[in-house]
């Protein structure tokens, strides 16, 4: 039996939350940097970040006050590499975190002539969001995602863009993009607590024929 309560956060949970925290922090930082330049709209650098949400873009449904893109960080899968692990306590994990970005666009009138197409706006918005996410997470400052000693490496495995089913023809134009980020790190498992030996004594003797003889006495609880 494992004598202690397993009451810890695994590293995949820590890393998932760290990815979200980095995105929130850097999005705010980028907005601040953009605000210093009057030719830039700092809202273009705004991301609304969630973790493990299944329907964050519910916000696009009826209230369209904030049209900035949504980002949802969620844990997808882990593969464990036995050749880089040990059977006792440490498992090297290659884990994929999906970072889903949703861009919203709405068609609008251009007073000078023509109109803006909502589908194009949504596509450009989500591309801007996923570009920002990849640049932040692959920046030199985050080589180890701020968890040096835990994270071995991170790599953007793929970026895939999704469009809602065309049959739906929903009135909002929403386009999704998924950045699959592979992170390598160690997971640890509960261990047997070592028991201290109370006494260890060794007598080393040389026999008459020259053979070395060692005699050890020690006590341990049974």
């Amino acid at each position: 039996m494992i004598p202690a309560l397993i009451n810890k956060r695994d590293n995949f949970e820590v890393i998932r939350d760290e990815i979200a925290a980095i995105l929130v922090l850097e999005s705010a930082n980028q907005q601040e940097l953009a605000a210093a330049d009057p030719s830039k709209d700092s809202n273009d650098w705004k991301l609304r970040v969630f973790t493990e949400r299944s329907n964050p873009w519910e916000q696009f449904l009826n209230k369209q006050d904030d049209k900035s893109p949504l980002v949802n960080v969620w844990y997808d899968n882990s593969n464990f590499d036995p050749t880089a692990s040990n059977a006792v306590e440490r498992q090297k994990s290659e884990t994929v975190f999906n970072i889903d970005c949703y861009g919203y666009g709405v068609s609008s009138d251009v007073p000078a002539g023509g109109h803006k197409a909502g589908d194009q706006e949504a596509a450009l918005t989500v591309q801007r969001a996923v570009k920002l996410v990849r640049n932040i997470l692959m920046a030199g400052e985050y080589t180890y995602l701020g968890l040096r000693g835990t994270v071995w490496s991170r790599w953007p495995q793929s970026i895939t863009v999704f469009q809602p089913e065309i049959e739906g023809r929903q009135i909002q134009q929403v386009v999704g993009a998924r950045l699959a980020l592979r992170v390598e790190f160690n997971e640890f498992s509960p261990q047997v607590q070592a028991v201290e030996l109370e006494l260890v004594s060794v007598d080393v003797k040389r026999a008459e024929d020259g053979e070395i003889v060692a005699e050890a006495d020690y006590e341990y609880p049974l």
Partner: protein, 127 residues
């Protein structure tokens, strides 16, 4: 009278009856700015859509059904989706049942020329 012609005439009761039917006021604006006040069916409902990310999410679907002969009588052509962003789109405006106004752009039109009805699939639009 042909049954088809009779069916088209019946649209006046089926589509355009605001007193005893489901007819509802709909304003149609063509790309040149010509406006027609018509009566037809309008829909604005929520439904679940699949963005293909493995998570079904809520979406919103709006459409309007109009009698083609009424459009013609109002001096309008058949509404179509306008992909060219240098031009103005066809616009459709109607209130929800509580009187809140909404403006939509026609993103796709599906005319039934046999019966004389056009169904317009709509997209939110900021005029």
């Amino acid at each position: 009278m042909s049954l088809r012609v009779e069916a088209e005439a019946d649209l006046a009761f089926i589509l355009e009856d605001e007193v005893y039917g489901f007819g509802y006021s709909i304003t149609v604006t063509d790309p040149d700015g010509s406006v027609g006040d018509l009566t037809g069916f309008s829909n604005d409902i929520s439904q679940v859509i699949d963005p293909d990310t493995g998570q079904a999410v809520s979406g919103r679907l709006a459409s309007a059904a109009l009698r083609i002969s009424s459009l013609t009588a109002a001096g309008l052509a058949l509404p179509v989706g306008i992909a060219d962003t240098t031009g103005k789109p066809w616009l459709i405006q109607f209130d929800d049942i509580n009187g809140n106004p909404f403006t939509f752009k026609v993103s796709q039109s599906n005319p039934d020329r046999a019966l004389g009805v056009v169904i317009c699939l709509l997209e939110l639009y900021v005029p």
